[in-house]
């Protein structure tokens, strides 16, 4: 390994995850942190820690100069951006490389290409990967846009070209709504992402969210099979599985092949995820976007393949070629991850930053908890609410759901309200057990059932 010292430009559970992978490879770790994270688990675990600014994200985790300065002072030779924050910021990737370090991820140019959701759509089309029917590129003027929208048929999604991750999306059901909302969407996108460009996609009614994990070394690409993340609240995933229980085998083969084709077309280096919508009635799938970073739910893929994805990211960043062939990657069993957030599901998921009084983590075979909490930890209110991920593996989906239920019963996080009751209820739900879900299912279920969650 040429990388000796890795700076983790992130926080929370993913920072802990990265530290663990680095430690196993004999790489020393530097954890940069805001003042509010001085007592975080990642800071405690890392070999070194550098305070890079006050609580506000813009002054710390999104402070390029402070991060690069910390890297220089500690002699770090690589930076892992985690997910969110700078992980898909091409300028940051370029700055890390310009400072003489390895960026653990693809090149700035690849990030730039896939970060522009319109350019990514075009790259997919060029690679013969099916895309959601929609505008060819950005909608430049409202007149042309109206024509596209009328051709596609309502409802239609207006999406921010610089968006992604479920952000910057509006659904409109008529031309009147489109006329009203498109300019608003553009202004919002400009304010949030610095780019007011929009594109249009047909709204696929009953879709499932299926994604494919890929690994590339700049020359070869392999896929690590699929995940299904259809259970979402406000476009954020809460329950993810591998493999998908709804994909027909021949469709799975085509879907994974399409993901590999796209990644190869852009000479992808690192870990990435190609996301699709899947219509389980017509068995058609459509590319929506590619995420050029590690994802929260990478864990379920690790469980079914035995591959340590963060370890592979570090190896690839180190300049090593992929160690496995496609045939080497086998799927065994079924895995489920649920995101334990500091939110009160009975109070419309009101955030609940608090003091973790006592903590009991589940154990036993096939149970994993990737968290950032410990007894006595005061959860800061300035960042996202993810406390940890509970991941279970078992020989088949039904067994995995039973194991999830068992493990949730053992999980106790005292002093904080969490989304644990949501998952206990979902694990008992008939539709969930039968796999009869789609990307709108959870929101509808919550309308009926949220008040019962305690």
């Amino acid at each position: 390994m040429t990388i000796q010292k890795l700076l983790i430009a992130n926080r929370g559970e993913i920072a802990v995850r990265i530290i663990r992978a680095a430690r196993e490879l004999g790489i020393r770790t530097v954890q940069v942190h805001s003042e509010a994270d001085a007592d975080s688990l990642a800071v405690k675990m890392a070999d070194e820690a550098v305070n890079i600014g006050p609580a506000q994200v813009s002054k710390s985790y999104l402070n390029v100069d402070a991060i690069l300065q910390a890297a220089k002072e500690t002699g770090a030779d690589a930076v892992h951006p985690g997910y969110g924050f700078f992980s898909e910021n091409a300028d940051f990737a370029d700055a890390v490389v310009a400072a003489g370090m390895c960026f653990v991820g693809p090149s700035g140019d690849t990030i730039r290409l896939m970060g522009d959701k319109v350019a990514a759509r075009k790259a997919a089309m060029a690679a013969d990967v099916p895309t959601v029917p929609g505008s060819d590129g950005r909608i430049d003027d409202m007149i042309a846009a109206r024509k596209v929208v009328e051709e596609i048929g309502f409802p239609v999604m207006i999406k921010a070209a610089a968006g992604g991750g479920g952000r910057g999306i509006r659904v409109v059901a008529s031309l009147e709504e489109f006329d009203q909302q498109a300019p608003q969407a553009s202004a919002e996108a400009k304010a949030a992402f610095g780019d007011g460009g929009l594109y249009i996609e047909k709204m696929i009614g009953r879709a499932r969210h299926i994604e494919v994990q890929i690994l590339g070394d700049g020359e070869r690409v392999v896929h690590c099979h699929d995940r299904e993340c259809s259970l979402q609240r406000r476009r954020q995933k809460v329950w993810e599985e591998a493999p998908s229980s709804s994909l027909r085998d021949d469709v799975r083969t085509d879907l994974c092949a399409a993901a590999v084709k796209l990644a190869r077309a852009v000479n992808y280096s690192g870990a990435g995820t190609v996301e699709f919508l899947y219509d389980d009635e017509t068995h058609e799938f459509y590319f929506i976007e590619m995420n050029t970073r590690i994802q929260v739910e990478h864990t379920v893929t690790e469980a079914i393949t035995g591959i340590d994805l963060v370890r592979e990211m570090l190896r690839i960043a180190d300049g090593q070629p992929l160690r496995m062939s496609q045939e080497d990657i086998q799927v065994r069993g079924h895995a489920i991850e649920v995101r334990i957030n500091a939110e009160d599901p009975a109070q419309n998921f009101m955030p609940f930053p608090g003091l973790v009084a006592n903590l009991t983590l589940p154990g036993g075979p096939g149970v994993r908890f990737d968290g950032m909490i410990y007894p006595g930890y005061a959860i800061p209110p300035y960042y996202d609410s993810l406390l940890g991920k509970l991941i279970v593996w078992d020989t088949d989906r039904e067994a995995a759901i039973n194991r999830l239920h068992r493990a949730l019963g053992e999980l106790e996080i005292e002093g904080v309200k969490t989304t644990k009751p949501l998952f206990q209820a979902l694990a008992n739900d008939e539709d969930v057990r039968m796999g009869r879900v789609n990307t709108r299912w959870l929101e509808l279920w919550l309308e009926k059932n949220a008040a019962k969650l305690q």
Binding site: A55, Q56, K190, P351, P353, P381, Y382, S385
Partner: protein, 80 residues
Amino acid sequence: MSTKQILSPLPGIFYRKPSPDEPNYKNEGDTVAEGDVIGLVEVMKSFHEVKSDASGTLSAFLVENEGAVQAGQSLAEVDG
């Protein structure tokens, strides 16, 4: 005449405006009625309106835009 403190209901980051390119909800010297929104507190990426529980003149903001706040911290003063 009395001065009432408007307290933050939650910990997080305090914003004076609905979004970066819109004007402040209220400025110092403005008249404020009970129930008027004077700012937002962002907690774990969700936004909550802070409403005045007094009527009068908003005499001072004690926390600047994007300032970090604790639950119960004074955000502004209203002279009524």
